[in-house]
């Protein structure tokens, strides 16, 4: 390990240390509480075993979920990643140091969690046939945690905001779980063995590691990859605020603009035709309502509403 890489590992270890400590302390404390609950006989041993097993699965997953946001997106938000870019270090060292520290932290959290679980299971006579019972199940949980960690890095390198990065992990992970299930089922159906599934799992993890590396490279070298400036060349959703102030007129208006896809320009003619039919149908509905109730103000309101609809339609048309 070269000294630059070692210093980056030191820095990332200190960055993630509070989260790792929190997970480790939580694992020990929650298992201790389960032991106390067992001694007190308030909860059935089966329920306690289920709780202990759930915690064993959940706590390392929390670390896998939070570590990338802490190590990439938070650094981006604080500006320290930008400062690192000004120093004479290799981008790959920054990326691999982060991944190495995150995996080591995950393994540490998982080890402490497993030790605490096994210790508490000694007190619980009734074994729960859940995820802890077979080596394959334990490996599956480990695989999912590493997958979650890698997806977290992919998301953190893709999105600059830690919150957006964390939220984006959820649909990405759901999609990957569906893919995992489908691949596992197809492979098992064909080969009747777990070996191809293990090979596929390792390949999947390597692909995710490569993807996060490529995205990390892009993130750390904005001149070559994407950046706010390069993204700003493309139409993005924006809120434009305009003010018009004079002695007699003081108002603020907000306009919500969305990017116009290319195909929408082709649909312009169709929209113009549809628009008229749409306005006509509204007029008929509102006119009928006004006529049924014989209410003048309602009819006037209907015309007013039609005008608003027409105005919006004209604005949309102008944008197209």
């Amino acid at each position: 390990m070269n000294s630059a890489f070692a210093r980056l590992v030191w820095k990332d270890t200190l960055l993630i240390r509070p989260l790792v400590l929190l997970i480790v302390v939580s694992a020990i404390a929650s298992n201790a509480m389960i032991a106390v609950l067992h001694v007190s006989n308030y909860v059935s041993p089966l329920n306690l075993t289920q709780l202990a097993t759930t915690l064993w699965t959940l706590l390392p997953s929390l670390l896998a979920f939070g570590a990338p946001a802490l190590m990439v997106a938070t650094e981006e938000e604080n500006g320290t990643l930008n400062w690192l870019r000004t120093l004479a270090l290799r981008r790959r060292d920054v990326i691999w140091a982060k991944l190495l520290v995150a995996i080591a932290s995950l393994v540490a959290a998982w080890t402490v969690s497993t030790l605490a679980l096994n210790l508490v299971l000694q007190f619980l006579p009734e074994r729960y046939t859940g995820t802890t019972d077979t080596v394959l199940n334990q490996l599956t949980v480990g695989y999912l945690n590493i997958q979650l960690l890698l997806v977290g890095f992919v998301s953190s390198y893709l999105f600059r905001s830690p919150i957006v990065g964390l939220v984006a992990v959820v649909p990405l992970m759901i999609g990957l779980l569906l893919l995992d299930g489908w691949v596992a089922w197809e492979l098992f159906k064909t080969h009747q063995s777990v070996v191809p599934m293990v090979i596929a799992a390792i390949t999947g993890l390597l692909l995710l590691a490569w993807l996060q590396y490529r995205l990390g490279q892009s993130r750390l070298s904005p001149a070559h990859g994407y950046s706010y400036e390069s993204l700003s060349r493309y139409p993005l959703p924006m809120i434009r605020c305009s003010t018009a102030r004079s002695e007699s007129d003081c108002r603020v208006s907000l306009e919500l603009r969305f990017p116009i896809p290319r195909f929408a320009i082709a649909a312009k003619t169709m929209w113009s035709t549809e628009r008229e039919a749409y306005l006509k149908s509204w007029r008929e509905v509102l006119g009928w309502y006004g006529g049924q109730n014989d209410a003048g103000p309602i009819s006037a309101n209907a015309d007013f509403l039609i005008e608003i609809l027409r105005e919006h339609a004209n604005q949309d048309s102008a944008r197209l």
Binding site: T86, A88, A223, S232
Partner: protein, 311 residues
């Protein structure tokens, strides 16, 4: 000697905004080169292109012979950079951050860093989050110069700092130039630029208006004042490159570059001029003449009449 920094036809746009327009610039070695410009003139964009953080839309940029878009690591090894708000790891102490950074540079970095923070009176064991803004800026400067870079880039480094810290920053720039290193200082603090700069470039709305040695610029630019006998009258403008023109009552005022020595001959006895004078312009006056869009700029047309309204 070859240029430390070279820009050829550099242009950069952000959507509809032109940040830089066809910039050509050569910076000689061993000087303090000041890049002046108002906010939004394009100074930071230019520096981001030089440091490889941003790709130009067109043109080529090189620093110390390295291409800015393809050799950014080589550039970062040879260059020190301090931004206006350096974001350091605030949970590290000032000694720790020096130790952390020293791994990325050749031997000698750590020793020089320790000397510098001692010289700058930065407490070594205090966490950066507990340091004052000035002390943080000093830590950032110490990190940027501890590997003895051939080029030091400072992007508005003294904004928000007290006069004592500013003074230390300016002294360190002069010291570096004295040992043959180059300093590129981006600023809109004209007073401090005037104190330390050898060369000045003025950037206005993405265009490079002036690039010249400071002393040469100041001796070449003069303020010509002419008072006429009636407030309705007009007179011919002086020869040379008139950077700006203004009028107050019966008095005309021009900021003129390359004013010929016989300029007074243009205002003969029949022109109605009662008083004529010329004096050297300060850098601030030159800067305003170039950047203030409210004053009337003129080209180099020799036969021109003053056209400004009476103020």
């Amino acid at each position: 000697m070859s240029s430390v920094l070279s820009l050829k036809n550099i242009s950069k746009r952000f959507r509809h905004t032109v940040a830089l327009s066809d910039i050509n610039l050569e910076v000689p070695p061993g000087v303090v080169f000041a890049l002046l410009g108002e906010n939004g003139a394009g100074k930071t964009t230019l520096i981001r292109i030089l440091t490889g953080f941003l790709a130009a839309d067109s043109g080529t940029a090189s620093v110390l012979g390295h291409n800015c878009s393809s050799d950014s690591v080589a550039i970062r090894r040879a260059v020190g950079y301090v931004s206006d708000a350096p974001a350091l790891y605030d949970w590290m102490t000032s000694v720790e951050i020096g130790w952390f950074t020293s791994a990325f540079y050749p031997e000698g970095f750590a020793a020089r860093y320790r000397e510098l923070i001692e010289q700058f009176s930065v407490p070594p064991t205090t966490k950066i989050k507990h340091l004052s803004k000035g002390q943080r800026a000093k830590v950032a400067l110490a990190i940027a110069v501890s590997h003895d870079p051939q080029l030091l880039i400072l992007d508005e480094p003294t904004s928000g700092l007290d006069p004592m810290v500013r003074r230390q920053f300016l002294e360190s720039m002069v010291d570096r130039a004295a040992v043959g290193r180059t300093v590129l200082l981006s600023s809109h603090q004209i007073g401090e630029v005037e104190r330390v700069a050898d060369w000045v470039a003025i950037l206005h709305r993405g265009e490079l208006k002036i690039v010249q040695p400071l002393e040469e610029l100041k001796s070449n630019v003069q303020i010509v004042t002419a008072t006429i006998d009636t407030s309705e009258g007009v007179i011919a403008m002086p020869r040379g490159q008139v950077l700006s023109e203004s009028r107050t009552g019966r008095q005309f005022r021009w900021v003129v570059k390359d004013l010929p020595s016989d300029w007074q001959a243009d205002f003969g006895t029949g022109a109605g001029v009662t008083k004529l004078s010329a004096m050297r312009a300060t850098l601030e006056e030159i800067f305003i003449a170039v950047c203030d869009d409210k004053v009337t700029p003129h080209g180099d047309d020799p036969v021109r009449m003053s056209s400004v309204e009476v103020a």
